[in-house]
Symmetry: C2
Subunit: 755 residues, 2 copies
């Protein structure tokens, strides 16, 4: 693992050492895990690789690559594009992916590069896609029909994109959870098989008929399918009725079946998924934390200086390092973090305190300049006048909030009323005016930057809704009225009612928890999307054009969804024709319906009718993979996250920062003004004691205050780390013989050369 | 709290002291918590109260009381009984309950008795029932119709029956979980309300029609109900189709709705229930453990003797005490437990070791007399002959098991075949013969008592099935063939196939876990039953006779379930007429269907059609209480229990016993012979060292061996205690100012008088 270039041997400059250390810190902060060489040119490439100007466009290309399915056949007629367009776009994406790969190769060692399955996978997918494209173009030009199978591989780019760590982790966990699940799954299927056999023998000979007049429970495999559907509860109680109508005792068979298979086995699935996923996740998080610590240790190794017996990093180096690693952080905030790290004011910190920096960086500290209201500076006389003070007092008062809660409730009544009435349309103007007035008054009273600080969800929400409504209303009244804008306006009006929730403490907790775990849920949304996409492509290839939808009153309308095979089927009778695989968006809607589970057997029956009974396999596979596996993982995650939010208070590191903020007298008294979570800078005037460092950096007319963000997690990693915080010893860096993370072995030689 | 009788002051005899101590030990063992006075007569009454001869019949009366609903109007015609029969039976039950209450009053202090809400509740319920019965009889005789409302109160007897601790605990926990849930529930309903308003404004004006040709989303309250149903997924995707058919974009509205309300909110419900229920359960379990320890401390206080600085109980007293408290325990087992308790062989144990006795008693230690096979004693020559040994060797061999696994598989094929064929009917005889042979051979090879020991589930299962099948087959062939017996025989044959599961280690774990948590699930079944019963009585009073079922081809058949209001309704078209509230068993089946959720809105619509829209309240309430609350608690419990079973190994106390068993050389080598979990007493011959105590008590021809039962929990309490074991300090007896458990304050005065 020797550096291969000659550059490294020159001995790095100070600047380069800081560059490298900053790269390590930034890696640790974002839990990046990309193995790069420490030569100067490589670091430069690496820092470019991690800048958003290079990975930002990649997101666009990834999205474009997936979105191509909207344009390719089969697609909605208005979107369907000529072959050369989609081929060109796809080639563009492939070029982008390849160049990203080449960029990566520029700064990683060759042997490491070729050992990483991610890179191999991307490369192979690119090659396969190119081959498929060539064959497809050649054959379609010769008039043959051929399946574009490589489209199903597109999610692989997303998964193996280096920024998709969370997604890869989810997949790895699913893979590891599988063996355990398969055991239960086989037992579960065996149980259905046994019950099916019983049902076959009990009911088969009785020649009962179903509600639709078909023979009931005559064929073993149909029984098996029906009972599988019963586990999903979708055909309950219909599947039981013929038997139950024939004799009440037969209900016992079905009740036992439901208790055993629906309740017991499904709960066991949840338990197995929950237990295993949690176990593997814990392992992953532990590895990730250890890997971060080792990366930080490397940065420490670069900047350390001899201090008595041991090694330490001086305040100056530290400040410079953090300044380079997190350019967006203010001087004052850096000083605060330093003071948290350097607990004993020695001017140096040891390795352990240095390593803790990652955790500190992941806590969102909000910096509030205890600034005066702009009007106070511009027109102090007016702003401080008795009338102005009285006005501000009114806005501060809780009756101001109550009044607008009342307005919202009244508004709800008006919204429910008939829009055609003139009175109601005029009332809408009144309400809009009131809301605008409310915002203006609040802006007059509270300092704008505080009012619009990132953590004030409800203020943002409010302002956005009101401004959008204002714009939409103006558009509606000035131009010809379009239905879309009217609908949009309507939704905005109703959404405004949501604000009432905010007035109740109990609800606020639930809503805040939802907002807090939101970003993490994006990972699971990504996971589901990958499965959806693959199943959608598969479904389109299998079932496209078999079932068609004709809008009511269209000229070329055909009966039975355009397919006589559906004559008399439940699928057609229930008017499900639009649930088809004729384009990507329809497929997605259909897959959502399958995920919700209800009536999935009817949907499946439609596709079975137009193809053959083998189509059931597609639908059963989807149920097993998405509903039993992925949705259970999603539920397990929500369970875990909610229980964490409900039970845990602030983490250790957070409390440390908070304590320090209080110690330094830089805290801000939180006061819930007007119930909207806004922060009043109250101690502005009473403040006297201040640390020298902060003093130096602050502007003359403002004092800097800090506040820890309302328990929001900057990254998914932080949330996960919190889940297992108790079980992670603070210093341990984990075993160094880790196979998963290829870059975490200590490069002692290189580092020692550098220092 | 002074004893009030004069008897207590005489000073108790030694015998009485042991009686009292044994009562305490027995209380602690079964986590009983009944406050009794310590006077001799009271103890006598108390011991009578806890004997099965008194509480056994109570179960019968409780069951009879509930079962009365089968006989009372409305009931199945063949079961409907005259008024005097049910009234007589109910009076009988009330007398039984009253006498139980009087019995309890005999040995509890009056003030304690009247402070216990259980007793008050039972008394009030008895009085209310009597009043209701009198009014009912009077009014029906005068020709008035009146509702027997007190029938809905019957589950109260079950809940307040002193043996239903677990059930009461569940209810207490639900009560405590409610406030937290209500917050989320209100928010959830608010969310539906907002979405309903949006849907009303978006779709109401478009005059769409549903698949059934009815107006779509025209009325706010109907929309609210439809969207509530969508949360349960029951009307997905039907509720979306009209809007989706009109424009694809509308699918987004429904998808967002489903994600927010079905997935997010329902997961939050599960999380809140899980979290709160677990928290309260932990508290309850902690209190129960502390209460047990205090009860044991009382027993210790009675029997303790001075020993140097402290107090201790001698081996002799201990042995006598355990003999009295657990008469069923053998001398040898008692000695084993003593040796576990008295780790240092001092002949005395201190308080802590004494208190541990409860935990020891709750571990099922199986005593195996390493007895020879009876044939060995009867006919040693024959049994030890070369042929016999070869035979036994064959049975021991794994191919013996494989052979019968093959037979079972073959059998499965034959079962699936046509019964009418002669070959198959004859093959059945062959298979039955083979199974009987298998059992006989195993009985020849293995010692019968070991073979039939309580923990060998599969042996029991096997023998029961084969013997039942044998009997049923004989009956079928000797008498006129009845359908019921044929069906029964069929089920037996299919059940036999289950045995194949047992041959796979991976499946065995899941099955064993299911069997292990089985007893605890009975508590939850009881919980559900209480709700079912109350809802069934309520439903029968509200909806009886409104919807009737006429079997196909019956003479007096009427169309539309006997109610013209159902003409054209989906309820009638789907042939749901038999889902009605006309008798208890039909009501139960209907409630199960409502619990399964699917199509519940169709079922509800039927009852709305024959009454009015207010009937929806009944169905929504049922969904909220049973599905959202109770079923989530059930799932939470299964999650917890399964994760416990999967992750934990034996508890501390169990390992202590096991270690002692091994130390004493009394362990039995487990060897899984023929894969059926049977235990081979292999070390019978090699055994040499034995402790004196055990030696004395054992019969000449047998050696006693012990084995800890295969992780089966004797009581629900033990399982629950295991769940929270880590968090319970071993000595701590909990705070003594406990309000919940009224009898656990230390009765120091009384005890000191006794010793």
């Amino acid at each position: 693992m020797q550096p291969q270039g000659g550059e490294n041997e020159r001995g790095p400059t100070d600047e380069e050492a800081f560059q490298l250390a900053a790269a390590y810190v930034s890696d640790a902060q974002f839990a990046r895990n990309i193995p790069f060489q420490t030569a100067r040119r490589c670091i430069w490439y690496y820092r470019l690789y991690t800048r958003w100007v290079t990975w930002g466009p990649m997101y666009v290309f990834l999205a474009l690559n997936l979105a191509l399915a909207f344009l390719e056949t089969p697609a909605k007629p208005q979107l369907e594009s000529p072959l050369w367009v989609t081929m060109l776009l796809e080639s563009l994406c492939l070029v982008a992916f390849s160049s990203r790969l080449v960029h990566l190769a520029k700064f990683t060692e060759r042997s490491v590069f070729w050992k990483d399955p991610k890179n191999i996978c991307v490369l192979v997918t690119i090659i396969l896609t190119v081959i498929d494209m060539v064959i497809y173009v050649a054959l379609t030009h010769s008039g043959y029909y051929i399946v574009r199978w490589s489209r199903a591989l597109r999610p692989l780019f997303v998964i193996n994109f280096s920024e998709s760590r969370q997604l890869r982790r989810s997949f790895r966990n699913i893979r590891r959870t599988l063996p355990e699940i398969l055991g239960v799954l086989v037992l579960f299927l065996f149980s259905i098989a046994i019950f099916s056999l019983m049902a076959f023998k009990l009911f088969g000979k009785r020649h009962l008929i179903t509600g639709e007049g078909k023979p009931y429970f005559q064929n073993y495999f149909n029984i098996f399918f029906e009972l599988y559907v019963l586990v999903t509860t979708s055909n309950s109680p219909d599947v039981m009725m013929p038997a139950y109508n024939s004799s009440s005792w037969y209900a016992i068979f079905f009740i036992i079946y439901i208790v055993v298979n629906t309740y017991l086995f499904m709960s066991i699935f949840l338990a197995v998924v929950y237990n295993n996923y949690r176990k593997h996740l814990k392992n992953e998080v532990r590895n990730s934390v250890f890997s971060k610590r080792r990366t930080m240790a490397k940065a420490f190794g670069i900047l350390r200086e001899r201090l008595g017996e041991g090694w330490a990093v001086s305040q100056q180096s530290w400040m410079q390092l953090v300044g380079m690693a997190v350019p967006s952080m203010s001087q004052a905030q850096r000083l605060l973090l330093w003071q948290v790290s350097d607990e004993e004011h020695t001017g140096h910190i040891g390795k352990q305190a240095f390593v803790r920096l990652t955790d500190l960086l992941n806590i969102e500290v909000i910096e509030t300049r205890g600034r005066q209201h702009p009007l106070q500076s511009c027109a102090p006389r007016v702003y401080s006048s008795a009338a102005s003070q009285a006005l501000r007092h009114v806005v501060h008062h809780r009756f101001f909030r109550y009044f607008f809660d009342g307005v919202i409730l009244l508004n709800a009544g008006f919204i429910a009323g008939d829009e055609a009435s003139l009175a109601i349309r005029q009332a809408e103007w009144l309400f809009l005016g009131l809301y605008v007035l409310e915002i203006l008054l609040k802006l007059y009273t509270y300092e704008p930057q505080t009012f619009f600080s990132r953590s004030n969800f409800w203020n943002w929400f409010d302002v956005m809704i009101v401004i959008s409504a204002l714009l939409a209303t103006i558009i509606v009244h000035s131009t010809t009225t379009s239905t879309q804008i009217l609908d949009f306006l309507l939704i905005l009006r109703v959404l405004r009612l949501l604000r009432i929730v905010e007035s109740f403490e109990r609800f606020r907790v639930v809503i805040h928890t939802m907002i807090n775990i939101g970003p993490t849920m994006v990972t699971y949304a990504g996971l589901i999307m990958v499965f959806y996409y693959t199943f959608a492509i598969l479904g389109m290839e299998l079932f496209q054009g078999k079932i068609r939808f004709f809008p009511a009153g269209s000229a070329d309308a055909q009966p039975f969804c355009g397919n006589p095979l559906l004559n008399g089927s439940k699928f057609y009778n229930e008017k499900y024709c639009k649930n088809n695989f004729n384009d990507l968006s329809s497929s997605f809607v259909l897959l959502v319906e399958l995920t919700v589970v209800n009536q999935w057997h009817v949907l499946a029956s439609g596709f079975v009718a137009v193809t053959n009974v083998g189509a059931r396999v597609y639908f059963i596979l989807f149920h097993m993979i998405v509903v039993i596996l992925v949705i259970n993982i999603f539920i397990a995650f929500i369970l875990e996250a909610f229980i964490l939010e409900y039970t845990l208070d602030k983490g250790e590191t957070e409390s440390a920062i908070e304590k320090k903020i209080q110690e330094l007298g830089l805290g801000i008294a939180e006061e819930d003004v007007a119930g909207n979570g806004m922060v009043l800078v109250d101690n502005m005037e009473t403040q006297d004691q201040e640390p020298s460092g902060v003093e130096a950096s602050k502007p003359a007319d403002s004092r800097i205050m800090f506040k820890i963000s309302d328990r929001r997690y900057r990254t998914v990693d932080t949330l996960l780390q919190r889940m297992f915080e108790e079980e992670l010893a603070p210093e341990y860096e984990g075993p160094y013989d880790d196979h998963e993370d290829i870059d975490v072995r200590p490069q002692q030689l290189t580092l020692d050369n550098l220092v």
